[in-house]
Symmetry: C2
Subunit: 144 residues, 2 copies
């Protein structure tokens, strides 16, 4: 199968979350930029650097897993000519569980344009462990 | 005091970490892009959106705090014409404590160029809670 050619960052992003929801490793591999200039931080995880390490992590996540329900909403984007950053709110839950059981994840996705179209260059995800207080954002993080 | 004009993303970044280490709110305010297109996620924290919410969070962090030791190393960067992403490893510790007591933080910093020079548009920080295994990165994150 030849790799798809993504014309926009949004197209890469849709393919990324579709691959995640389908636990489809080939499709996941196709969205990432090739080479070592590739970064992934799963929630609470260490830095994974280089496409081989990144893809291995997704292989382990997909291994034996039931395809989850993955919903995502774009919160904000920074758009450059050949670089794009999209902050996304992800809601992930096992299939058959109600939306209120979803885990909320914040992800900064960095997209790069090269001769082969747009790809995902970095995915930095984190869990908002400190709850947002009602009314005002007055959380006091322990560490900056 | 007129705001400094930052000629490069690296200059903004140096000023950001200097302001952090000095707990200097004016200097911190100067590095961030103006307006509502500004995002900050402290480690384990919720999304803070818009410069007022972002600066308030730094005010709370700095309030009553001793200036910490903040070391940072650039891990990787994605450089566009008017947009730049820098992944940084931060090591933060109270003054007087040895380097091995530092807390490790991974931060994705997004810089934007406008008519007033480069500014920080997004800071997404997270704690690598899941330790990296020796030799291989075989961590199994609970959530993607």
């Amino acid at each position: 199968m030849s790799n798809p050619r993504f014309a926009t960052p949004a197209a890469v992003e849709a393919a990324f979350y579709a691959a995640f929801a389908a636990t489809d490793l080939d499709a996941m591999e196709a969205v990432w930029a090739p080479g070592l200039h590739t970064l992934c931080i799963h929630p609470g995880g260490p830095l994974l650097r280089g496409k081989p390490a990144v893809i291995q992590s997704w292989m382990e996540i997909f291994s034996g897993a039931e395809p989850p329900v993955v919903e995502h909403d774009l919160i904000e984007s920074f758009e450059g000519k050949d670089l794009c950053v999209r902050l996304v709110e992800e809601r992930i839950r096992p299939r058959g569980r109600p939306p209120e059981d979803a885990n909320l994840v914040l992800a900064t996705n960095v997209y790069v344009l090269d001769a082969h179209g747009w790809h995902l260059g970095e995915h930095h995800a984190s869990l908002p462990l400190i709850p947002r207080r009602e009314g005002k954002q007055k959380d006091a993080p322990r560490l900056h």
